[in-house]
Symmetry: C2
């Protein structure tokens, strides 16, 4: 067989040749911009040429600080296809982390959305590798900035050559992209994607048994492009000629609802907060979202009432997925099996509420207290993953040794797997409560609490305990104008859990500390809870 | 990223772990046999173990002469997954070609369906590498045979160990399978598939924009498993947990119709003859074939009336595909683009009648008389293909140099490509009629003739011509009890073609010589036509 490498240049080439009329729809500060793949392909070539003229060489890192726009998409293609490496920077990181990862990755050039310039101005004196700044702006003129030297993105597009040709000698194992993921302690850790991993992951997204992304889709990339490749939608979408909708900066649920209605979006993916927000918006105003053939939810588990609302009120299949920066990210999807479609709605809902089944191409192993766990949906163990789109290390980072062992990624996620092979995320290993030699899932308790009509948010953490080693304490934020007592909540939980699972205490709070990606910051919460308990 | 190899062991492992209850339905001489993937996986391990005990080592070739059955499927998995190479032998080859390819591949063991034993008995004295024969029979006892030593397949399954483990050090570029393709002259030419090519090709089959094969499908593998991996359905089907229907030996249109109705087949693939036969059967008796979500047609182009019948009478989308033994085989599929779905039925029919659009992962180039052809649906050129599931050579064969040049496969097929990227096979380069410096497509004339209600079959060949170099002559077989004159047929063709395209003569025949796979044998026909013309 031919040794044709799995490289990403084929993606934009296929879009240009076979789908030149298909569009990328991008929300900018000047309104909606529509570009055909013919135009995107040309602009991408011109950008690649201009970056090369600015000194970007094979293997160089080019950082982006940007929202989901057509320009960011062009950078997504131009940088790897020209043999460089796109480093997507999480704009929500703390300033010292932003400068750390730019220096650690040795970014040579930064592409920055105009409104995000302050993030870099703030740390520009710490940057050790950056030679130039390219400003992605909708205005004709460059904004005032203390950064230097600065270039205007659109001028680089104009001056780049349309005759530029992507190198044809890229090896499929060459790096194509980088993304840093927050660590519990210390600096973010870098993951390097290769051409091969991005191509295979895109094929996986196109498979009917995962999400079946297709030319027929109008896919909205809600997940930020600085989070695990926006879950791979931009790469796969371009390759398949999918119409891509880029919602741009500072979008609100209202903007998303309008985009779905006006652009007839068929598929989108996002974290539970997105879908919760959209549901709220839909309750306030009527939108036609019937074009959606499915939505995918990941990042953390969506409460069942959200799944139920999408499916029963709006008739839109709500799929769970699971993945992480280290896994490109797609690992499992809650696509039901043929014979599961015949189950009752409640049974199907219970399956959909799990993270789902392994996509073809990967392997998993679940290691509990006594080796591999039983497939009974009960025994808990840490999820290990292996496969061609799973990272094998953190970039130049000693913490590699913790997460990558014997060829497997140790995810740090505690899961169960049922007899049908459906994974359910139970907890993070570090958030699991070890009580009397048994494990208690903080997430299960949180979900049960959040199902109470008075509860807005709930987080459960472990506190040290003399006899039981650890015991669970629940922290609860109530909805506005709602009241409930500790006793009522414990009574509410009692029928759902073994007695020893029930929290030893419930603390009412105004808010729960969260990470930049909206997940509970359990470390901070644990400290806060202990302070609180000592006060009492 | 992890360097996890793309090997085929993951296919059967995934089926066993995630889809143990799903079935393979196999038609045998004793009726329908149903095996779960749990059983198939166990039998496959046992077979692999027994073959190893019979002396099969890493890289050894194991030949199969067999119909599409569960046993052939087990061999499809056990042989490559244990590190050996499955060589599927075309049972319709001439005896001297069968012995040639067995010797050329150096098959160490042959797995033979009981009723096909005579094919090997006939040439057993010529075989130079075969050490043992395994008979796949539905009977408890081995049949009488002059072959030796012989083993009973089911006894090997019984004696093999279920604790056998597939090697975990297979490189993705190791050979996994072999298939020989007939040559115009001389011996058949061998194509070697690798683990990588089979895995990537299977992913391509699962993609929504190709055929979207899925766990939800009940797929019937009509294409013989000795033809280009039965177009890849067995591998992909096992991987995805698809219910597979294996129609077994000597099936008829009636048997296929019954299987579709009884097993609720959702997808199948075959050559035009299969679909013509099925249509005829459906006209004679009523069957419920509404479970079919689509059928795929390849090998050669189906006449439009067949497509129309499936779509309009039975409401089943009829997809064309194109590929060859050298291409694993999937290259293009006539999946319509989103905006093409809005065309009129006749326009869509015209697109469906073409071979279709390139699947993601491959590259094509079409070289005409003046370099790359225009995408105008008119200019003809030879199709060149490149990609990770395209052969790079013929196995130990000097003819490699003719077909593989500069990293491209020269298909020998003449095509046009329209502005939407839809390929249309016009002819074989060698069957094209070169008249006065222009090209005439024999296939276009044949299709037009076969659209006449009195014509059963038509083949058009070139005869040498003093002035024009070559001129077309049509050979026509009429339907029973139908009459039409040469003049009437020419009049029928006239409005559809330029005048110089019209055949110089039309010869009426009783039958047209065909190859073992049912394609017109144009070389023999040309000789016959010249004899005929000289007689007149």
């Amino acid at each position: 067989m031919m040794q044709t490498p799995l490289t990403m240049t084929q993606m934009i080439k296929r879009a240009e040749k076979f789908f030149p009329k298909k569009q990328v729809i991008s929300r900018t500060s000047k309104g909606i911009v529509r570009l055909t793949y013919k135009e995107i392909a040309e602009r991408t070539r011109r950008l690649a040429d201009s970056l090369q003229k600015l000194g970007v060489e094979r293997g160089d890192k080019v950082g982006t600080l940007a929202w989901n726009t057509h320009r960011h998409l062009e950078a997504y293609l131009a940088i790897p296809c020209s043999g460089a490496v796109i480093h997507t920077i999480n704009i929500r990181l703390a300033p010292q982390h932003i400068s750390y990862i730019i220096n650690h990755a040795e970014d040579k050039i930064l592409l920055i959305d105009a409104d995000l310039i302050p993030l870099i101005e703030r740390c520009k004196d710490e940057l050790t590798s950056v030679k130039a700044f390219v400003i992605m702006t909708d205005e004709d003129e460059l904004p005032e900035t203390s950064l230097s030297p600065v270039y205007h993105y659109e001028q680089l597009i104009a001056s780049g050559s349309n005759d530029y040709e992507y190198p044809d000698d890229i090896d499929e194992n060459e790096p194509a992209g980088m993304c840093y993921t927050s660590a519990t302690t210390g600096n973010p850790k870098g993951v390097v994607y290769t051409h091969r991993s991005n191509v295979l992951h895109s094929m996986a997204l196109g498979m009917a048994d995962s999400i079946g992304l297709s030319e027929k889709d109008i896919a909205m990339a809600i997940v930020p492009m600085f989070h695990a490749n926006a879950w791979g939608l931009p790469f796969a979408g371009v390759w398949f000629g999918t119409t891509l909708v880029m919602p741009g900066p500072y979008f609100t649920p209202k903007i998303l609802a309008e985009l779905i209605e006006e652009e007839k979006v068929t598929f989108s993916a996002g974290v539970p907060t997105i879908w919760l927000g959209l549901l709220k918006e839909l309750e306030e105003k009527e939108y036609d979202i019937s074009s959606l053939r499915a939505v995918l939810c990941g990042g953390s588990a969506a409460p069942k009432f959200v799944i139920r609302a999408f499916e029963q009120k709006y008739n839109i299949p709500f799929m769970h997925g699971y993945g992480m920066t280290e896994t490109s990210p797609l690992v499992v999807v809650s696509t039901l099996k043929s014979y599961q479609e015949e189950l009752s709605y409640e049974e199907r809902l219970n399956l959909r509420a799990k993270q789902g089944i392994l996509v073809p191409g990967l392997e998993i192993k679940i290691i509990g207290q006594n080796g591999e766990v039983a497939w009974d949906g009960k025994e808990m163990g840490e999820l290990l993953i292996r496969g061609p789109w799973i990272a094998s290390e953190y970039y130049k980072d000693e913490r590699t040794a913790d997460a990558f062992q014997d060829g497997w990624l140790y995810t740090g996620d505690v899961v169960t797997i049922d007899k049908e092979g459906f994974l359910n995320i139970v907890d993070r290993t570090k958030d699991l409560i070890k009580s009397g030699g048994e494990w208690i899932s903080s997430i299960d308790l949180e979900n049960a609490l959040m199902a109470h009509e008075a509860v807005f948010e709930a987080a459960v953490v472990a506190v040290p305990h003399e006899q039981w080693q650890e015991r669970p304490i629940a922290c609860v934020v109530l909805k506005e104008n709602k009241q409930v007592t500790k006793e009522e909540l414990l009574e509410f939980l009692a029928p759902q859990f073994a007695k020893w699972w029930l929290p030893d205490d419930i603390l009412f709070m105004d808010e729960i500390p969260k990470t930049s990606v909206g997940k509970f910051l359990k470390r901070a919460l644990r400290d806060q809870v202990q302070d609180e308990l000592q006060k009492n």
